[in-house]
Amino acid sequence: MLVKPQPVDSPVTTAEPPTLLEIRNIAKSFGKSIVLRDISMKVAEGEFLTILGESGSGKTTLLRIIAGFENATSGELWMGEKRLDGLPPYKRRVNTVFQHYALFPHLTVEQNVGYGLRVEKHSDAEIASRVEQALVRVKMTVHRKAKPSKISGGQQQRVALARALVKRPQLLLLDEPLSALDANLRRQMQVELKSLQREVGIAFVFVTHDQEEAMVMSDRIALLRVGELEQVATPREIYSRPATAYTAQFIGHTNLLRAQVQSGVVRCGSLSWKAHLPDGLALLSLRPENIRAAGSLPSSVRFRGQLRHRAFQGATELLRVECSDGLLFTVRTAARADWSGELEFEFDPADAVPVRVSEGI
């Protein structure tokens, strides 16, 4: 197959990057409980896609279906012209980094990394050189002769990565690989993992329940909620244009405003503003940082309220403000010592984004 060399500095195009994996209408149930419903999405070549969701959202099940450890109840998986579903894991060019690393305890670091090449009966020389490369890449050459029980969690993590990457998969799946690490190491590994992914250029599908982690690392985030796909978008888009009330609340803080729209006018409590929205009930998401102390914006919506609660967060501060009509707002402002009593705030109506109602919110 001919591969066109990519121009180094390509002009900005709107063309989508080529699709690597296509998930078509995947559904899964265990007995009577439905874990995934009708999931469809695409993973592009070289992309870092995060499947984000709370426990019980089905994110790990989706990953296991892609890896081949579970069979979907219905739906298809396509990688180019090849249909993946139905193939056993060892016949897919997909590798997994497991949640608890799953390193073979009886093998050394080196043997663990070489395992996938050894079972494919590559020559000793090739195995040695590829293992060496992989160990260098994850900076584990010093510990090559150690058994997994003798190295730290972060090091085990690196070995697990090297073991999967040495196979040169087309797609790497990572099942909450950082969840067992403590906070500092975890942030460090997030950066390492992301730059490693850029270096090797392999598409990563990364599962996590941590929305911050998802925002930091991903090219795109697929948000799952009790087996359904809420939204697939870039971190910026999913944050500024959440599709549903659940997305808006799960990713960052938000104010959900219940409003009534009539001929282009939005009414919410005693506030009103103009917007191009269909008539009827509307649910609007307004991020706390889009609300400011009144004064600067000409076309803003203003409200007054009593300060009820404040939470200092370092550079910023979250304020709970209650209006006279009972509306509650969360406002993020620069941390200041002298917030108190009645305050006046404003926001740009364009920042109040309409979202779909989610069940239970």
Binding site: P88, N95, F98
Partner: protein, 282 residues
């Protein structure tokens, strides 16, 4: 943390028990093995090495010990060949029926050893179930006489009796293998057979060693199966010890043989434990 009185109350009874019923008998046996029997059939309490000399010189003891070890080795082999696949199947492929199968393996242990040994007697005898069936089906003209009162019968019965003992430690070690290791192996491109030989089997070696030791050691010291089913050609070393302590009335020689066995078994246990440690990873 605990009071002195509490510690005393908790530790003294088991110590007394062990000294009275284990240590003292062993010491007695040790002493007996250096004494001798007079022509008038009384124990002579003078220290000598005659019993051990006899042990090394008389062929029948050696040959019986070797035969016992050969029988025990076969029992060990067959128990592993039966027990391992069974344990593997239960642990990895039995699904929801796992507990039921497990109970089915355990239930025979509730039946008395004697009953099971006698059961084989009625199956293997010349008028037994097996020979009757074979003749009925015209597979043989005359009853097969190697079935009963032979090393074959002893090996068969001991295998039947000790397979659950081999199965249990193997099953436990297989159950301890994290299943994500199997998935990781699959994921890295290993076929099911490669996964078995490269991951599952190496990690089950401690169980195999423990199971093999059980089968070998328990069979080596067995005297009921050879007594009931062994016949003259199926005599084992314990039968000799039994007769020395009984009809032959030579306690000193019996004690010497027992002590030899004890040393052999303890060294086996020691080696097996070292190997098990070498093969366990946690």
């Amino acid at each position: 943390m605990f009071s002195r009185a509490y510690k005393t109350v908790v530790t003294v009874p088991p110590l007394v028990w062990v000294s009275l019923f284990l240590l003292v008998p062993y010491l007695l046996m040790f002493a007996y093995s250096f004494w001798s029997v007079s022509p008038a059939q009384t124990i002579v309490h003078t220290w000598n090495l005659e019993n051990y000399r006899q042990l090394l010189r008389v062929d029948v003891y050696w040959q019986t010990l070797l035969r016992s070890m050969w029988i025990a080795a076969r029992v060990m082999l067959f128990s592993l060949l039966l027990g391992y696949p069974l344990a593997y199947f239960l642990s990895f492929h039995a699904g929801a029926r796992k507990d039921l199968f497990y109970q089915l393996v355990i239930i025979p242990l509730w039946v008395s050893y004697l009953v099971r040994a006698y059961a084989w007697k009625t199956i293997l005898g010349s008028e037994g179930v097996l020979n009757t069936l074979l003749q009925y089906g015209h597979l043989t003209q005359h009853p097969l006489d190697f079935l009963l009162y032979s090393p074959f019968a002893v090996v068969l019965t001991l295998t039947h009796i000790y397979t659950p003992f081999t199965f249990l430690p193997i099953y436990a070690s297989l159950e301890h293998i994290p299943r994500n290791l199997v998935e990781a192996s699959d994921d890295l491109g290993a076929s099911p057979a490669q996964t078995f030989w490269r991951v599952i089997f190496p990690l089950s070696i401690p169980g195999v060693l423990a199971g093999a030791t059980f089968a070998f050691v328990l069979s080596l010291g067995d005297f009921l199966a050879p007594l009931l089913l062994g016949g003259p050609s199926g005599i084992m070393i314990s039968n000799i010890v039994v007769s020395l302590f009984g009809a032959a009335y030579n306690w000193p020689l019996g004690a010497a043989i027992s002590l030899g066995m004890l040393v052999l078994v303890i060294s086996l246990l020691f080696v097996s434990e070292r190997l098990e440690k070498k093969w366990s990873f946690s």
